[in-house]
C-alpha cells in the first residue's frame, strides 16, 4: 500500500519512527564517522610520533651498521601493541633490522616504498627516512599499524548505535502512540463530520473543536464552511420555494383568467375569482365590491362561499353598502393597492369592521378599467402580516385581469343589450311597417265598406223614423237590416284595434264598467268558453262586480279592447281549464309615491278592474317584460301587442297597472282607474238632446253620389236646406258661389278622402273664406288621420262612416248653437 494511502495514524507513526531513526542513524553515523576519522588521525599521529622517535634513535645504529642495536631500538615498539611490525632499511634499501625480531624477513617488504603514511588492507603503513639532523639520509624506517582495533571498535559502535536506535524507536513508538492522538483524533473527528455531511447530507453536523492549533483553525473553518453551506442551501431552497410559489401563482392567475374568460356576467366572474382565491391562495375572507362614485359608496357584490359566515357576522353580505372611508377605501378607489399588515387597531371603520371578524391582514386591490376604478377586491387573513409582497403583487395583477374581464363582461352585456334593443327596434319597425301596410289595406277596405253601407244605414234609419205607413213586417225587416248594418260597421271597427294602436283619442265619456264587461264577455266567449270546451277543458267564469256599478271616464272601445286582451291572455294561460274572475271595486287609495306625483295630492277615489286566472302564472323575468311591445310567450300565435295596448290604454286613461303573478300561481292584472266624477243633469240632458232647433243651410261635399244622395235625403228630412257638391273642387266652388250670392252655407259636411282636392283642403278653403262656418269631416275609418293623430286643422268635428243620424244630429245641434 503506498504511503499516501495509509491512515494518518500510521503515517504519523511511520514519520515519527523514520524521523527519529534517521536522526539517530545520522547521529550514530556521524559519531562513528568521527570516531573513525579521529582514530585514524590519532593513529597517524601516533605512528608519525613513534616513527620520529624510533628513526631518531636509529640513526647511529644504522649509520654505524649496528643491527643488534637497531633491533633493540625497534623492540621498544612492543609497548604499543597496535604496531604489529617495524623494520629499518639501510641507505641502499636493504632490510637492516625488524620487529618483532623473531618474525621471518619475508614478513616485511624487501625494500622500502615511498616515504609517507598510507592505509593498505586494514593496515596503516609508514615509511620515513632515518636521518641525523638535516643530513644525508641514512636509511628508512617502516612501521605497520594494525587497524583491526579500529574496525573492531567501529563494529562495536555500530552495534551500540543499532541497539540505541532500536530502543529509541521503541520509545518513540510508545510516545508517538499517545502523542499522535493529539493530531489523529481531531483529524478523525473532522473526517467523521465531513463523512456525515457528505453521506447523509446532514448539514447540521458540526465538528467539535479540540484545541486551538491548526486543526482547531481547520475545524473552525470547516464549521464555518458548513454554516455558509447551510445558509446557501437554505437560501437556495427558499428561492426554490419562492420560484415554486411564483409559478403556482402564475398558474393560478392563468386558471383564474381562463375561468373568468369563460364567463360573461359580472357576478359569475366575481364568484369564480373569490372561490379560487379562497381555495387556492388561500385567504380567509374575500369579497368584491362595486363602487358608485356619485354616492361614494361601495356595494358588496360577491362574497366567497367560505367568507359568507364572516360576512354575515360583519354585515357585509351581498348588496350591503359600505361608505368609502377616508383611509384604505378612499386610497383604493383612487387606484392604489392597499395593504394593511395588521388591522387590529385600525382607527378606520372598514378595516375595523373586518378586525372584529378576527381578520388581521388586509389587502384591497382596485378594479380599474379605462383608468376608472369601478370596484375593489378585498382579501383578508386571520394571520397578521401574512401577505407577502408576492401575494400583494399577485392580487394586484389578478385585480387587473379581473377588472379587464369585468369590464369586457360589462361591454359584452351592453353590446348584448344594444343588440337586443336594435333587434327589437328592427322587429318593431318591421311589425309596424307590416301593420301599417295591413292598416292601409284594411282602411281602404273599411272605407269602401263604410261608403257602401252608408246609404243603407241612412235610409234605413230615415225610413224607420219618418215613414208613417210602414207595415209591421216592413218595420221589422228594416230593424233587422239596421242591426245587420250595425254589426257590419262594428266588425269593420274591430279591425282598427289591430292596425291602429294609437288611434285618435276616442271621445271620452262616462262608462258603466258593468255594461262594458258584460259586452266583452259575451263577445269573447267563443274564446274562453267554446274553444277550451272543444279540447275538454272547462273555464269557470266568476264575476264579482261592484254595486252600484263602477263608472269611469274613458273611451269605451279602448276599454273594451283592453279587456278583450286580458280575457284572451287569461284563457291562454289556462289550457287545461281553471277559473276566470272579473272583479270591479271602488276604493280610496293613498297617492302612490311616484316621482311625478306631488306628495300633497289628496287621497283619490279609484275604481279597480281585475282580471284573474288560475293558470300557469309568470316568472319574474316575464312579469317584468310582459308590458313591452312585441314581447310574447305565445310564439307565432301572439303579436306581442296585447298587453302593450292595455298599457297604452292605461296611460291614456291615467290608470295604473298592477300585475300579481308567480309561476303556477296564476295571474291577476289589476287596472286602477280614477273614478268618474258624479254625472250632472246638464250632461245627461245634453246627451239626450239630439235635434237642432232651427233648419240650416248645409253643403255636402263627397265624391260618392250614393252617400250624397242618402245624406241629402236624411238632412232634408230633418228640415235642413241641403246642397251637394260632387268632389272637393266642386264643393269649394259651391261654397264660394253661395257666399257671392249672399246666401252662404251655415255648415259644411265633407268627405275626407276624395280625388284631387280632399276634405282637408275643402275645410281649409271654407275656413279661409268663412272662419266661423263649422266643418264636419266624415271619414271612412282608418283613413290617414291616424298619422296626424289628431283632429285636422280647420275641422270642427270628425264623424265616422257610416254616419248615424243620432250622431249627426247631435253634432249639428252643437255646432249650430256654437255658430
Amino acid at each position: 500500500m503506498p504511503l499516501r494511502n495509509l491512515p494518518i495514524r500510521r503515517k504519523l507513526m511511520i514519520m515519527l519512527l523514520v524521523t527519529s531513526g534517521a536522526v539517530l542513524a545520522v547521529t550514530c553515523a556521524a559519531f562513528i564517522g568521527y570516531q573513525y576519522a579521529a582514530y585514524r588521525a590519532a593513529a597517524r599521529h601516533t605512528v608519525q610520533t613513534l616513527g620520529d622517535v624510533i628513526a631518531s634513535n636509529s640513526t647511529a645504529a644504522v649509520a654505524f651498521d649496528n643491527a643488534p642495536d637497531e633491533t633493540d631500538v625497534l623492540a621498544a615498539l612492543q609497548a604499543e601493541r597496535r604496531i604489529v611490525a617495524a623494520a629499518a632499511y639501510d641507505a641502499s634499501g636493504a632490510l637492516f633490522a625488524h620487529y618483532p625480531a623473531d618474525a621471518p624477513a619475508s614478513a616485511f617488504p624487501p625494500h622500502p616504498k615511498h616515504d609517507g603514511l598510507r592505509f593498505d588492507a586494514g593496515m596503516l603503513l609508514y615509511y620515513r627516512p632515518i636521518r641525523q639532523g638535516d643530513n644525508t639520509r641514512l636509511g628508512t624506517l617502516y612501521l605497520r599499524w594494525d587497524l583491526a582495533a579500529l574496525h573492531h571498535q567501529i563494529t562495536v559502535y555500530a552495534l551500540i548505535a543499532a541497539g540505541l536506535t532500536a530502543v529509541a524507536m521503541l520509545l518513540a513508538w510508545l510516545l508517538g502512540r499517545s502523542l499522535q492522538e493529539q493530531i489523529s483524533i481531531p483529524v478523525q473527528t473532522l473526517g467523521r463530520a465531513a463523512l456525515a455531511v457528505s453521506e447523509k447530507r446532514d448539514y447540521t453536523v458540526r465538528a467539535p473543536k479540540l484545541g486551538n492549533d491548526e486543526l482547531g483553525t481547520l475545524t473552525d473553518a470547516f464549521n464555518h464552511m458548513l454554516d455558509q453551506l447551510t445558509a446557501d442551501i437554505a437560501e437556495r431552497k427558499a428561492s426554490g420555494v419562492r420560484l415554486q410559489r411564483q409559478l403556482s401563482r402564475l398558474d393560478l392567475l392563468h386558471r383564474i383568467t381562463r375561468a373568468v374568460g369563460e364567463r360573461q356576467d359580472l357576478r359569475s366572474i366575481f364568484q369564480v375569482v373569490i372561490r379560487h382565491l379562497e381555495e387556492q391562495v388561500p385567504i380567509d375572507f374575500g369579497c368584491i365590491c362595486l363602487y358608485e362614485p356619485d354616492e361614494e359608496v361601495l356595494t358588496v357584490t360577491s362574497v366567497g362561499a367560505q367568507s359568507r359566515e364572516t360576512a354575515l357576522e360583519l354585515a357585509l353580505t351581498e348588496k350591503a353598502r359600505v361608505p368609502v372611508d377616508s383611509n384604505g377605501l378612499s386610497r383604493c378607489v383612487r387606484g392604489e393597492l392597499v395593504y394593511e399588515p395588521d388591522i387590529v387597531s385600525s382607527p378606520f371603520p372598514f378595516p375595523g369592521t373586518l378586525a372584529k371578524g378576527g381578520l388581521r391582514a388586509l389587502v384591497i386591490a382596485p378594479l380599474r378599467a379605462e383608468s376608472r376604478v369601478f370596484g375593489i377586491l378585498v382579501a383578508a387573513r386571520r394571520e397578521p402580516d401574512s401577505f407577502s409582497s408576492g401575494d400583494c403583487e399577485f392580487l394586484r395583477q389578478l385585480s387587473e385581469h379581473v377588472a379587464l374581464a369585468a369590464h369586457q363582461a360589462q361591454l359584452y352585456d351592453a353590446l348584448q343589450r344594444a343588440y337586443e334593443d336594435l333587434r327589437q327596434s328592427q322587429e318593431s319597425v318591421v311589425q309596424q311597417e307590416r301593420l301599417r301596410a295591413l292598416g292601409q289595406m284594411a282602411s281602404g277596405v273599411a272605407h269602401d265598406i263604410n261608403n257602401a253601407i252608408s246609404p243603407i244605414a241612412l235610409y234605413t234609419e230615415s225610413l224607420l223614423e219618418r215613414e208613417p205607413g210602414l207595415s209591421d213586417r216592413a218595420r221589422a225587416y228594416l230593424t233587422t237590416i239596421q242591426t245587420a248594418i250595425h254589426d257590419v260597421a262594428r266588425t269593420v271597427s274591430r279591425m282598427r284595434g289591430f292596425y291602429r294602436p294609437q288611434e285618435v283619442q276616442a271621445p271620452v265619456a262616462r262608462l258603466d264598467l258593468d255594461r262594458v264587461i258584460r259586452g266583452v264577455l259575451e263577445l269573447t266567449q267563443a274564446r274562453w268558453r267554446d274553444l277550451p270546451q272543444e279540447r275538454g277543458a272547462v273555464i269557470e267564469l266568476n264575476t264579482d262586480l261592484a254595486n252600484p256599478p263602477a263608472v269611469i271616464m274613458g273611451a269605451e272601445n279602448e276599454i273594451r279592447d283592453a279587456l278583450t286582451n286580458l280575457i284572451f291572455n287569461a284563457a291562454d294561460a289556462m289550457p287545461d281549464g281553471g277559473t276566470l274572475t272579473l272583479r270591479t271595486k271602488r276604493l280610496v287609495r293613498q297617492p302612490r309615491g311616484g316621482s311625478q306625483s306631488t306628495t300633497e295630492e289628496p287621497p283619490a277615489e279609484m275604481v279597480s278592474l281585475e282580471v284573474s286566472d288560475t293558470g300557469a302564472g309568470m316568472s319574474e323575468e316575464i312579469r317584468r317584460r310582459c308590458l313591452e311591445p312585441f314581447f310574447t310567450t305565445k310564439g307565432e300565435r301572439g303579436t306581442g301587442m296585447g298587453l302593450a295596448m292595455v298599457y297604452g290604454m292605461a296611460q291614456r286613461h291615467g290608470a295604473q297597472i298592477e300585475i300579481d303573478s308567480a309561476p303556477g300561481q296564476g295571474t291577476t292584472v289589476r287596472l286602477l282607474f280614477p273614478a268618474a266624477p258624479v254625472a250632472t243633469d246638464e250632461t245627461v240632458r245634453q246627451l239626450a238632446l239630439g235635434l237642432p232647433v232651427r233648419p240650416l243651410r248645409i253643403l255636402i261635399v263627397d265624391d260618392d253620389p250614393l252617400i250624397i244622395e242618402s245624406l241629402r235625403e236624411t238632412l232634408r228630412g230633418d228640415g235642413h236646406r241641403v246642397t251637394a257638391a260632387e268632389g272637393g273642387q266642386a264643393g269649394i266652388d259651391a261654397f264660394e258661389a253661395a257666399r257671392a250670392a249672399g246666401e252662404p252655407f251655415e255648415l259644411v259636411i265633407t268627405d275626407l278622402g276624395m280625388p284631387y282636392i280632399d276634405g282637408r283642403r275643402v275645410a281649409a278653403a271654407v275656413k279661409a273664406a268663412a272662419p266661423n262656418t263649422p266643418v264636419v269631416l266624415l271619414t271612412g275609418w282608418g283613413q290617414r288621420l291616424t298619422a296626424e293623430n289628431q283632429v285636422p286643422p280647420h275641422v270642427d268635428r270628425v264623424l265616422n262612416k257610416p254616419p248615424k243620424m243620432r250622431e249627426l244630429r247631435a253634432a249639428l245641434a252643437e255646432l249650430a248653437r256654437a255658430g
Partner: protein, 187 residues
C-alpha cells in the same frame, strides 16, 4: 657488513649518477672493504660530533677530515664526502704529511703508519678540537678518541668519550650507544 656494502654502493651509485652513468652498466660491485666502510664512518662522525664554534673560522668553514700518514682508503674517502654538507658545512679531505697541519683538522685519521709517533701526535693535538680516529691497537687507551675495530667481519667502534670531552668535543649519545665502550684492554 650490509651497512658498509650499502654505503659503499650508495657512494658508488651517487658517483655514478653524478657522472650520469647507469649503475647497472657498471661491473657488479664487490663487497665493500673495511677501508671503504671506515671511510664512510669517518664522514658519518661529522654528524654525531659537535665541535665548539671556535673550531671553525666562520659558519661556512668546512669540516676538514685529515688523513695523517698513509691513506688506506684510496679514493673511498673522497667519494664518501663528495658533495656532502653537514650542518651546512662542506666536508673536505686533506692528506697530511706533517703533524703540524693536524691541528687544523676536525677529524683526524691517524693511519697505522703513524703508530710510532702516536703519542707525539696526540700530545700535539692537545688543546685542539680534533676528533682523533685510528685503527691502531690500544688507541683509545692511549688517549685517542675512536678506534675502528673489526669484530665478526663488522667494523665496530671503541670510543674514549673522556678524551673527546677533553678535546672540547661533544659526542652524540647515539654514537656512544652504537659504539662499544672503550674497555680496558681492548682500546
Amino acid at each position: 657488513m650490509g651497512l658498509l656494502r650499502s654505503r659503499a654502493r650508495a657512494v658508488a651509485a651517487a658517483a655514478l649518477i653524478a657522472a650520469g652513468l647507469l649503475l647497472a652498466a657498471r661491473p657488479a660491485l664487490a663487497e665493500p672493504t673495511a677501508q671503504q666502510v671506515e671511510a664512510v664512518f669517518l664522514f658519518y662522525f661529522s654528524q654525531f660530533v659537535d665541535w665548539p664554534a671556535s673550531a671553525f673560522a666562520d659558519e661556512r668553514s668546512p669540516i676538514v677530515i685529515g688523513v695523517l700518514g698513509d691513506d688506506p682508503f684510496g679514493g673511498a674517502l673522497d667519494q664518501a664526502v663528495a658533495g656532502e654538507r653537514v650542518n651546512g658545512r662542506p666536508v673536505v679531505v686533506r692528506r697530511l704529511r706533517s703533524i703540524a697541519a693536524a691541528a687544523d683538522c676536525h677529524i683526524l685519521y691517524i693511519s697505522s703508519s703513524e703508530a710510532p709517533q702516536l703519542q707525539q701526535i696526540l700530545s700535539a693535538l692537545k688543546g685542539h678540537n680534533v676528533l682523533t680516529v685510528s685503527d691502531l691497537e690500544r688507541f683509545a687507551q692511549s688517549g685517542g678518541m675512536i678506534r675502528f675495530v673489526l669484530i665478526d667481519q663488522h667494523v665496530r667502534l671503541i670510543v674514549n668519550a673522556r678524551a673527546a670531552r677533553a678535546a672540547g668535543l661533544k659526542l652524540s649519545s647515539k654514537l656512544l650507544r652504537a659504539a662499544a665502550p672503550a674497555r680496558p684492554g681492548e682500546g
